[in-house]
């Protein structure tokens, strides 16, 4: 593109365009108090803009934080999951499932209620099936057996099977 000088020969004083380009000679003085009024209006507008900006920021922050907090609170509820069978004894659970359910809790509705209300009654169902299945080994023995399942498979099965079955039914 060819550029042109802006004060060249094309800008002669007789040209009517010169009249347009001539800076205005007219002046219009400000009425008294106009300056203060403009300053007040400008500061009010600035404050409004700042308030609107803060409100938008808060809204966006709330929109971001609320879903995060909600998901976090749902995550806090999940610690009930540990009632599920421990992974170490998982291979022994399937064969013994049908054997344990009946004796573990005579009244399943009661069990459900207790599971809903609190964590204290959880000890009773785990003890019961162990006593019904095998009278001789104690609870501590069962615990020791679950730690080493390969050594005593039968004890491990009974010991571990009782706990998951109760937990399963509670679910």
């Amino acid at each position: 593109m060819i550029t042109h000088s802006d004060d060249g020969p094309e800008y002669d004083p007789d040209d009517p365009l010169t009249v347009i380009m001539r800076p205005p000679a007219e002046y219009l003085g400000a009425p008294p108090g106009r300056y203060e009024a403009i300053r007040r209006g400008a500061s009010r507008r600035r404050m409004l803009r700042a308030a609107a900006g803060a409100a938008v920021t808060c809204g966006v922050a709330a929109l971001i934080v609320l879903p995060l907090r909600l998901t976090a609170s749902e995550g806090h509820g999940s610690p009930t999951v540990p009632l599920a069978p421990p992974p170490a004894s998982s291979p022994s659970t399937p064969p013994h499932r049908p054997a344990t359910p009946e004796p573990s809790s005579p009244d399943p509705s009661q069990d459900r209620r207790t599971a809903e209300t609190g964590a204290a009654p959880t000890t009773t169902p785990t003890r019961r099936p162990a006593a019904n299945d095998r009278p001789s080994p104690s609870a501590s023995a069962a615990e020791t057996v679950t730690r080493v399942p390969s050594m005593q498979p039968s004890a491990a099965r009974t010991g571990t099977a009782s706990t998951p079955s109760a937990a399963d039914r509670r679910r």
Partner: protein, 163 residues
């Protein structure tokens, strides 16, 4: 800090308001409207004082946009009145005092109007105009030249109509 800013604002107002308001009055032909538009331009400037690098240019461009809005509003009102009255008793509004300046703001596209206003009405050198508009100096010169050519053509046409 605050006092110096207040002083700068006061000096700017004293230096630019009368000239800006006078220029607006030539466009709208009404003192009250001219004061309103000039005041609004200053209010917008001071509402974002820190964000404006070149207040003079900002004021002229804002005022020109407000004048254009004012004309549009007048035109809408005129059309509404024309539609409402069945008689053609409504006389056309008197021609404004200086149609040439109005022509400048009205006829030029935004891209050409802004450099003309800044260079000729705000007395800004081409270098400042180029900084303010973000265009190269050569581009600004070319824009000014194109604007002048357009205005010259407009003037020629309007002179032919009057003769």
């Amino acid at each position: 800090m605050n006092r110096s800013r207040e002083k700068a604002a006061s000096e700017l107002f004293a230096a630019l308001y009368p000239r800006l308001a006078g220029w607006v009055r030539r466009l709208v032909d009404d003192d009250e409207t001219a004061h309103e538009i000039a005041s609004e331009a200053f209010t917008r400037l001071w509402a974002r004082w820190t964000a404006v690098a070149e207040p003079r240019g900002f004021l002229y461009v804002t005022a020109a946009n407000l004048v254009r809005d004012h004309w549009r509003k007048l035109e809408r009102e005129r059309r509404a009145v024309r539609r409402a009255t069945t008689e053609a008793a409504v006389t056309p509004p008197p021609e404004q005092a200086d149609p040439s300046v109005r022509l400048l703001v009205q006829s030029l596209p935004e891209r050409l109007r802004v450099p003309i206003l800044l260079h000729y009405y705000a007395d800004m050198p081409i270098r400042e105009v180029s900084v303010l508009t973000g265009r190269k100096e050569g581009t600004v010169k070319a824009d000014l030249h194109t604007a002048r050519e357009l205005l010259r053509a407009h003037l020629r046409r309007s002179l032919d109509h009057t003769l």
